[in-house]
């Protein structure tokens, strides 16, 4: 019962994060929303494991957390350097 409530709340939060990712005015709002979506996905996988009574998929949650972190850092560095380059070109 508690697992179902937690999973439902996490799904609502993921929907809110997706709405922000679609609506976000700036690029960084979108990155923040996608990062939030990823961490909530990790939590959802963990909770769904316990909901189904068979906690076998926690490894997937670990891998997902790692991939989420690496991808956010990678995207951030890409855009940081891209914007510095455009500033240098403008100068």
């Amino acid at each position: 019962m508690m697992y179902a409530i937690t999973a439902l709340t996490l799904l609502v939060v993921m929907a809110l994060a997706l709405a922000r990712a679609f609506a976000g005015p700036t690029l960084y709002d979108r990155i923040l929303a996608v990062n939030n979506f990823g961490t909530k996905t990790v939590l959802l996988i963990a909770v769904m494991d316990f909901l189904s009574g068979r906690p076998d998929f926690l490894d997937i949650a670990i891998v997902y957390a790692l991939i989420n972190f690496i991808s956010v850092i990678g995207v951030l560095r890409f855009f940081e350097y891209a914007q510095q380059k455009t500033v240098e070109q403008a100068e």
Partner: protein
């Protein structure tokens, strides 16, 4: 003893999902990027920790507990680092928090809002 663990775990799960929901609402409702990152990252740390601790109470002493602890440590390190990197990249790109803008620089706030 089992009932005590169950109750602690339920309380942790419910508070954790409450904090996650607060973060989601803050992500939608706050006016600009830096307040949004504040809402999202702070509630993310607390909510994820509470949910994972609530699951740990259900797992008992097993391999599952070790995996949950690994996820907790990973999400604590990775989430805070990602939030810091995002705020730093946004500051570098020229965005400014709303309350640190001069009255004389009102135009820049307006232009930022217009862009949105």
């Amino acid at each position: 003893m089992d009932i005590a663990f169950d109750i602690i775990s339920w309380v942790c799960l419910l508070t954790g999902s409450f904090f996650c929901l607060t973060g989601g609402i803050g992500l939608i409702r706050f006016p600009e990027f830096f307040s949004r990152i504040h809402a999202a990252s702070l509630t993310d740390t607390l909510g994820a920790s509470l949910i994972l601790i609530g699951l740990m109470f259900q797992a008992g002493f097993s391999l599952t507990l070790a995996k949950l602890i690994m996820i907790l440590i990973l999400s604590l390190i990775a989430g805070t680092t990602a939030s810091h990197a995002m705020a730093k990249a946004a500051l570098k790109s020229g965005m400014c928090p709303l309350d640190q803008v001069d009255r004389s620089a009102e135009g820049s706030v307006k232009s930022y809002k217009d862009k949105g």
